[in-house]
């Protein structure tokens, strides 16, 4: 039983890692720009396809492909900010509708370029850390956990210690006051989109050899990310990380001890419970919620 609990905890830690990367990016974009980016799951998908193109097809090293995935998807995010979200900044629903349209475009492009079938991406390493006969952690999964810890720590330091980070936080708290202090709203939006999209991209890139990589893979990820940011508090980065951990552990343990369908029901029930007890989420404030 102890071994089963240990293996389940390792599974949950991996799930929490990539969910946190995606959810934090989504929160950052919403916090700074006030846009609900429905195409965030497709940015995750783009990151995975960067690994397909560069690592599986072209033979570049896996970590190089993942880094390119981060930067490439970040640049796509900047493009979205400039062409979709900025022109619609004064339209409360404009960004949301535009992101839905953009996700369909990204899905279609991926289908045309790569086909609709699941990609078969070889793992970058076959090494497995074996703690006992029935407790193990493939090193490929460890990469995701370590990657998430490094990137989220770096983001935290960037937001707390750098001038750009202060500017981002100021824009998220009160865009008008931030603008009056000389902070460029366009620039902070650009940075937020680059980081938010890049985090989704690198999550897709790091998990690509471990999950089903296909053009519609973003759907389930975005649903999970929305549950997480609602539980954590819309606009709260700390809340997103904590909620990702809670959701991943609850979902993984319920799947293991009951089944996957019940786990989905429990996950959604968790969200409903939070909405009833604390509608702003664990760390959310009433302003953005």
């Amino acid at each position: 039983m102890l071994e089963l609990l240990a293996q389940t905890a390792l599974n949950a830690t991996y799930a929490a890692s990539y969910i946190a990367l995606v959810a934090v990016g989504l929160v950052l974009i919403f916090g700074v720009m006030g846009v609900v980016n429905f195409a965030h799951g497709e940015l995750y998908m783009l990151g995975a396809y960067a690994v397909v193109a560069l690592y599986a097809d072209a033979g570049f090293p896996f970590f190089l492909a993942a880094a390119v995935g981060l930067i490439f998807v970040g640049i796509v995010g900047i493009g979205m900010e400039r062409t979709l979200f900025r022109p619609l900044r004064d339209n409360p629903l404009g960004g949301l509708v535009a992101s839905i349209g953009f996700l369909l475009i990204l899905q279609s492009l991926a289908s045309v370029w790569f086909g609709v079938r699941m990609e078969h991406i070889p793992p970058s390493t076959q090494q497995i850390l074996r703690f006992s006969d029935s407790v193990s952690l493939p090193v490929q999964r460890l990469y995701v956990i370590v990657g998430a810890v490094i990137l989220l720590t770096a983001l935290w330091l960037f937001l707390k210690r750098s001038r750009f980070g202060w500017a981002l936080r100021a824009s998220a708290q009160d865009p008008e006051a931030a603008a009056l202090q000389g902070i460029s709203i366009n620039q902070t939006a650009r940075i937020a989109m680059f980081i938010g999209a890049g985090l989704a991209g690198v999550a897709g890139a790091l998990t690509a050899p471990l999950v089903r990589t296909f053009p519609y893979m973003g759907h389930s990820v975005i649903v999970t990310a929305f549950i997480v940011i609602i539980v954590g508090g819309v606009g709260s980065l700390e809340g997103a990380v904590l909620a990702a951990v809670i959701y991943a552990f609850v979902h993984t343990f319920v799947t293991t001890f009951f089944d996957g369908v019940i786990a989905d029901i429990v996950g959604l029930s968790l969200m409903l419970l939070v909405l009833i007890v604390k509608p702003t989420g664990m760390f959310g404030t009433a302003d953005r919620a």
């Binding site: 609709v116 029935s134 649903v223 293991t256 786990a263």
Partner: protein, 434 residues
């Protein structure tokens, strides 16, 4: 830009050359038998299946196989109806495995394209089409006989009796590895997974194999299968059954089984692109993996009882055109066309009611894997499934090998009550489905 492209593609010399070829072909045509060039009569066949989306792997390869079938049949003179040759043309509609899109597609294929027969994957999409089929009297085929019911007299399951043939794999396993006595199972929670769960439960019970836990159902949107596999392995089973998981699930589940140290027997309905699983795990891990769909280069398919035309050549041609894309359904829709063609030629008509009567005439038909009978009254309320022998396939040294053909009706005669019991327990009998 467009003019540049066109100028690059169509040079004056190429245009003249093409015109000369067309003129030459016309002149040559007058010298050849009329039969080979009677292309003025065309029979259109509808292909209504998922060509994109998560279930595309069970639609698109079938269409690719049908194109080869049509080219071969048309090159051989086409379909002979009442002494006249007809060319066969497929009209495809991507239903994206969505019932609403399937209904729109069926209506379009019948009303606008004038097709005479529509092939489907079935499953979740059939309820969307059922009313159209009843109203129009159109002949449909499905790969999933769980769609069959007495309300749908024009729906046939002529290629595969999914999931009933899965009993043959379990029967073979019990005969050849009798020491394996415990099993666990997982499946996606949908119209494809549940009847298959009932079938494996019946087959395991018939074989004296104990289920260590209830079947683990997972959401079809699942992306991380580590928790699923951890739960499966918690009971230390001798056999892991992957039920009729889509190939997109079979791959990550097998990887997880490998990574979490499983060394026992795996049995599955399908193992599409199994060579990729071997690459991501190992030959040793996949050795002995049992499933139900052979590669058609298997020498066992050259036996006299096999009705599929030139299986080895078909496989070679398919792989030449679509390298690495051979899957469970690559041959199935084409084999349905063999049966439909025989029925149409026998009826002397391509009209749906006439072809249906001719196909079912005498209660038997030439299934791809041997002569078979129209069957299904007990399970589906109607004898519209063509049932006979089915191959058991085992991976040996990284390659799928047919280990034998086993009779589905023979198993059903002995254990049919078990199957009905488990189908009823999961609300999968035709009178229980909504």
């Amino acid at each position: 830009m467009i003019s540049k492209l066109l100028s690059g593609m169509v040079s004056r010399r190429r245009l003249l050359g093409t015109a000369a070829s067309v003129a030459g072909a016309g002149a040559l045509g007058s010298l050849l038998p009329v039969r080979a060039f009677a292309a003025d009569k065309v029979v259109k066949i509808g292909f209504l299946a998922p060509l994109t989306g998560e279930v595309a792997a069970w639609g698109k390869p079938g269409l690719d196989g049908c194109q080869i079938w049509a080219e071969w049949v048309n090159a051989a003179g086409g379909l002979t109806i009442g002494g006249e040759a007809h060319q066969v043309e497929f009209v495809a509609y991507d239903n994206e495995y969505d019932p609403g899109k399937a209904r729109a597609g069926a209506t379009k294929l019948i009303k606008e394209d004038g097709v005479k027969f529509i092939m489907m994957l079935g499953g979740d999409t059939w309820p969307g089409v059922q009313k159209v089929a009843e109203r129009e009297g159109m002949l449909f085929s499905t790969l999933l006989p769980s769609d069959l019911s007495p309300d749908s007299s024009t729906l046939l399951a002529p290629a595969e009796v999914h999931p009933i043939y899965n009993v043959t794999g379990v029967e073979w396993l019990a005969e050849n590895k009798p020491d394996l006595k415990t099993a666990v199972m997982c499946a996606q929670d949908d119209a494809l997974g549940l009847p298959s769960v009932a079938t494996y439960l019946a087959a395991f019970e018939a074989a004296g194999i104990e289920m260590l836990d209830d079947p683990l159902l997972f959401d079809p949107a699942t992306t991380d299968f580590a928790p699923v596999v951890t739960k499966l392995l918690a009971k230390n089973p001798a056999i892991v059954s992957l039920d009729t998981c889509y190939s997109d699930y079979v791959h990550p589940i097998c990887e997880q089984l490998f990574q979490q140290g499983y060394k026992g027997q795996i049995i599955s309905c399908t193992a599409d692109f199994y060579e990729k699983i071997v690459e991501k795990t190992s030959k040793e891990f996949m050795e002995g993996f049992i499933f139900q769909f052979p590669d058609f280069d298997d020498p066992a398919l050259n036996g006299e009882q096999i009705n599929f035309q030139r299986p080895n050549e078909f496989y070679a041609e398919y792989n030449k055109r679509h390298p690495g894309e051979w899957g469970a359904v690559s041959w199935e829709y084409a084999s349905i066309m063999d049966l439909w063609k025989a029925g149409a030629e026998k009826a002397g008509s391509v009209e749906p009611d006439a072809v249906l009567a001719a196909m079912k005439d005498g209660g038997s038909g030439k299934h791809a894997f041997g002569d078979a009978s129209w069957w299904g009254e007990d399970l589906f309320g109607i004898d519209n499934a063509l049932v006979g022998d089915w191959p058991v396939v085992v991976i040996e040294n990284g390659k799928a090998v047919i280990k034998g053909f086993k009779s589905i009706p023979a198993w059903y005669d002995k254990h049919g009550k078990l199957l009905v019991k488990h189908m009823e327990a999961l609300d999968q009998m035709h009178y229980q489905r909504g």
